[in-house]
């Protein structure tokens, strides 16, 4: 039963992958002459542009081009940058760990903080709840790039405690890594914790109002165990959905934060490549992003199945 539902989810994920990559591919590779002119420069001769189109294989039918690209995905060859000649694989291999470390560090902190804040607000209510609600509205509303710029201003310029730019790999020097990633993580964390905490608060309140909680209370189970054993267990399902959506949102926020703190991640690469017109690189980043999203969703489904007996047996 369980393997069936996993296979179903996997099939669905592959379908989504094909649809999204195909649509993006057509969008980006649809204008072959435009791409070639971008590579050669605006004052290139039409005949040269035509040669470049043929050279890059952009004259073939879109479906053929997409098929070749897909074959490349399967065999692990995503082509080369139009500008540097570097293979897309190499470019991604050096960039992905930066973004992942940023997103994962933020995610772990978001998990801990948002659960603590959301649950506290839901249980205690009163002024604690009102303060939490105020700050979650505030934190979720202000865009990450503004928070990031504010942090640069406060902690790299006015009070120079952290470096404003640059990245040190975790494997090179853990302390320096922490130092280089502290501000970017905080910039992403504020919005992420705020919106996750607000939703986790809602999920806990929702479960607290359910019939079975009243019945368990009537059976004599004290408030503490009732909360930790029963209420949080049921609220963990919706909480998980919130966190998986938040993870994907973090990837979007990373684009801004990497730009501001000059972190060499895929967000920054996407931005520079898009402005150059380096289509194979951008397509490679779209691929990585979609795979990341699908993996997060699958993991979310699996965790949900482990937590929710109804999903397990269905």
């Amino acid at each position: 039963m369980l393997t069936m539902s996993i296979l179903k989810k996997l099939a669905r994920a592959i379908a989504v992958f094909l649809v999204v990559t195909f649509v993006t591919f057509c969008m980006m590779f649809g204008n072959g002459a435009g791409i070639a002119r971008g590579v050669l420069g605006l004052d290139a001769q039409p005949s040269d542009v035509q040669k470049e189109v043929v050279k890059l294989g952009l004259d073939q039918p879109l479906l053929v081009q997409y098929g070749k690209w897909l074959l490349g995905v399967v065999t692990g060859n995503l082509g080369q940058s139009y500008f540097t000649g570097q293979s897309v694989n190499e470019a991604l291999a050096s960039r992905v760990p930066v973004t992942l470390s940023l997103v994962i560090a933020t995610l772990i902190l978001t998990l801990v903080l948002s659960v603590a804040i959301g649950v506290t607000a839901a249980i205690f209510g009163g002024w604690i709840d009102r303060v939490v609600q105020f700050f979650t509205v505030l934190g979720a509303a202000v865009p990450a790039f503004i928070i990031a710029v504010g942090l640069v201003f406060a902690f790299a310029i006015a009070l120079p405690l952290f470096p404003a730019t640059g990245y040190v790999a975790l494997s090179d020097d853990p302390t320096a890594w922490l130092h280089s990633i502290a501000l970017p993580v905080i910039a992403l964390l504020i919005g992420s914790v705020a919106s996750a905490a607000a939703q986790i608060r809602g999920a806990v309140l929702d479960v607290q109002g359910r019939d079975f909680v009243r019945t368990l209370r009537a059976r004599g189970i004290p408030e503490g165990p009732l909360l930790f054993r029963h209420v949080l267990r049921s609220a963990s399902g919706p909480g998980l959905t919130v966190l998986s959506l938040q993870t994907i949102a973090l990837l979007g926020g990373a684009v801004f934060v990497e730009q501001i703190f000059a972190l060499p991640g895929i967000g920054q690469l996407a931005n520079t490549s898009a402005q150059q017109g380096d289509v194979p690189i951008v397509m490679g980043i779209v691929l990585v992003t979609i795979v990341f999203v699908l993996v997060v969703n699958l993991l979310g489904d699996l965790a949900n199945a482990a937590l929710n007996p109804k999903a397990r047996t269905r």
């Binding site: 989504v16 649809v19 999204v20 993006t24 969008m27 980006m28 435009g34 979720a140 509303a141 202000v142 865009p143 790039f145 503004i146 710029v149 504010g150 201003f153 310029i157 006015a158 109002g209 359910r210 079975f212 009243r214 019945t215 368990l216 209370r217 009537a218 059976r219 004599g220 189970i221 004290p222 165990p225 054993r229 029963h230 267990r233 049921s234 959506l245 994907i248 949102a249 990837l251 979007g252 684009v255 801004f256 501001i260 967000g267 996407a270 931005n271 898009a274 402005q275 380096d278 289509v279 951008v282 980043i285 779209v286 992003t289 979609i290 999203v293 929710n308 007996p309 109804k310 047996t313």
Partner: protein
């Protein structure tokens, strides 16, 4: 029993008059200070955009090498100038228009796509709904900014196109919202009635459905405009916009690139963007409060205490004698209402239950019978207020001490709820939740608890108890679930069971079996029972004594034979007559 009318009581606790609700929405918003402030700020932004040519001291792209990085409040440059000597105020004012237009493109596209598809999916259901939900799930799971960057390689710096695409990316929020509202409305009677009368689908959508979705859509739109401004500024900040066209995002980008030379410069665009987004989000929240909430707020603990102290100050009637399992005296329960008032729903009820007695509590819905049941267990909803009264058990007043009430739960008083399926925790096996509940009130090993529960499950009529013990709630039937709940209520050996409509949610055949089981258990174990029901058939079947409730008072109490033979109160006679006519109808059909 006090007979003070409710209204008199309410006046004494109603300091502020109820606000009039029928003012126009905009007036209601402006009357709130936070509403007035946000609307004023948004108005300021609109004025800035429309009258940029008046407000801006100089053209936005005018460079002046004499004023490079001029600080704020310099002559001619109230907010200072940037690295090219361009006036920041002029650039922000001129930049308001493209920013707002970008946000409006997002709004229009997402409303058109999302609301239309949501209306269709919700109204026609079926395949259209399935496809729509799938597409919206896929779109929602994509990080929009990455797609916008990919789009840039195709279109170049084209903010309107990017905003239109972003509109499609956020359209699922409208789709889901509108779809769920429409599904609800569609199931409501008035749409059925409209269809019976012969109105066409378009007329129905136009008249009823659009009316119902307008509130949620207005609220959502405030949030979508906020998101649109954020993304527009963000895309420009990344440098994906037209560098010659000033906007809040490009001003922010220029200031950030120059942050070491003129750190104050980033503050103006950052403040303008944040405050605008914040105002829109707050406006959305205020709109939600105005259009959707009931205005009821739970009272703070302090005002709850004040209310309770005032009313318990009155002397309690004499402590009831010891022949009762439970004796309720002068119980008053109230709920907060909109506008800070409270309404009493139970007006000082007295109730005695003797050992082994099955005491029926009957009345129509809203008569306060469940409130009494919940009070004895201390499981009233959070917002409820027990104004006064006492509940005596074994010589102690349970209401006087929260700890005493908590320790009586489960051990002295058991609870059988109404709806069996929703009253079992879906995350735990039947065995796990029964064992855990039992061991919370009686100290015993897991093994002992298991053995005792298995025997008890068999006793309440579950044949394969071992197997059911390992099952999850969704794997058993409603009748079985009710037996499990009865088992959970009696396992800890209470003297009293409070059963709240224990058979209402069950099939007719199962109802009779469950009633029979309750009667047998009461006899076997000498259990007293408070049985809340609106069904006089159930009362006649199983109860020894009946209390008839109406509007929060017990109007008549008698043993069951004499009540059915010679009801004293007019209301009881009415109730009996109406229940007989229901029986006749049921038999005839």
């Amino acid at each position: 029993m006090t007979n003070r009318p409710t209204t008199e009581f309410m006046l004494s606790v109603t300091p502020q008059p109820t606000p009039r609700r029928r003012r126009p929405l905009i007036v209601r918003l402006l009357m709130k200070p936070e509403g007035a402030i946000t609307i004023a700020f948004l108005l300021f932004v609109v004025v800035l955009a429309v009258f940029a040519w008046v407000i801006a001291p100089v053209p936005p792209n005018l460079t002046d090498l004499n004023t490079v990085n001029a600080p704020p409040f310099s002559p001619g440059h109230p907010l200072g100038a940037d690295q090219s000597g361009r006036d920041i105020l002029s650039r922000l004012a001129w930049g308001s228009q493209p920013t707002i237009i970008g946000a409006l493109i997002v709004l229009v596209v997402s409303v058109l796509v999302g609301v239309t598809s949501g209306l269709l999916a919700g109204f026609f259901r079926g395949k259209a709904e399935g496809v729509g939900t799938f597409v919206s799930d896929v779109i929602m799971s994509l990080p929009g900014i990455v797609l916008l960057i990919a789009l840039y390689t195709l279109t170049g710096p084209n903010i309107p196109a990017a905003m239109a695409v972003f509109g499609i990316l956020v359209a699922p929020t409208y789709f889901r919202l509108v779809r769920s509202v429409v599904v609800n409305v569609r199931n409501e009677l008035y749409v059925d009635a409209a269809r019976v009368v012969g109105l066409s689908n378009t007329r129905i959508i136009g008249r009823h459905v659009l009316w119902a979705v307008r509130g949620p859509v207005i609220i959502q739109s405030a949030f979508i405009i906020a998101a649109g401004i954020g993304i527009q500024a963000g895309v420009d900040f990344l440098g994906l916009g037209d560098p010659k066209q000033p906007s809040w995002g490009t001003v922010m980008q220029d200031a950030f690139n120059n942050i070491y030379n003129n750190p104050v410069g980033v503050w103006w665009p950052a403040l303008l963007i944040s405050l605008t987004i914040l105002s829109l989000v707050l406006l959305g929240n205020i709109l939600r409060d105005e259009l959707q909430s009931t205005g009821v707020r739970p009272l703070s603990n302090r005002s709850k205490r004040t209310l309770t102290r005032d009313s318990t100050a009155r002397p309690v009637k004499a402590v009831p004698g010891g022949e009762n399992v439970i004796a309720i005296r002068g119980l008053k329960v109230a709920y907060p209402q909109a506008g800070g008032t409270i309404t009493e729903v139970v007006h000082g009820v007295d109730l005695d239950v003797k050992p082994g007695e099955i005491h029926g509590l009957v009345g129509e819905s809203g008569s306060g019978k469940s409130q009494i049941a919940f009070s004895t267990l201390g499981i009233l909803p959070k917002e409820a207020i027990t104004l006064s009264g006492s509940i005596w058990m074994d010589g102690d007043d349970l209401l006087a001490d929260g700890k005493r009430l908590a320790s009586a739960r489960g051990s002295k008083i058991g609870y059988v709820p109404q709806e069996p399926m929703s009253n079992l925790d879906p995350s735990f096996t039947i065995g796990a939740q029964l064992t855990y509940g039992l061991r919370a009130v009686r100290s015993m090993s897991k093994k002992e608890a298991r053995a005792e529960l298995l025997a008890l499950l068999t006793r309440v009529g579950i044949r394969n108890a071992e197997q059911v013990f390992r099952m999850y709630p969704h794997e058993i039937s409603g009748g079985m679930a009710q037996r499990v709940l009865i088992c959970g209520a009696i396992a800890s050996g209470p003297k009293l069971i409070v059963a709240d409509e224990p058979t209402t949610a069950l099939d007719v055949t199962v109802q009779a079996e469950v009633l029979e089981l309750l009667r047998e258990l009461s006899r076997e174990r000498g259990l007293a029972m408070i049985l809340v029901t609106h069904n006089l058939g159930v009362v006649a079947d199983i109860c020894d004594v009946v209390s008839v409730m109406r509007d929060g008072r017990i109007v008549e109490e008698a043993d069951v034979e004499s009540l059915f033979a010679s009801p004293k109160q007019a209301y009881t006679q009415e109730l009996l007559a109406s229940s007989r006519s229901v029986e006749i109808i049921e038999e005839a059909s």
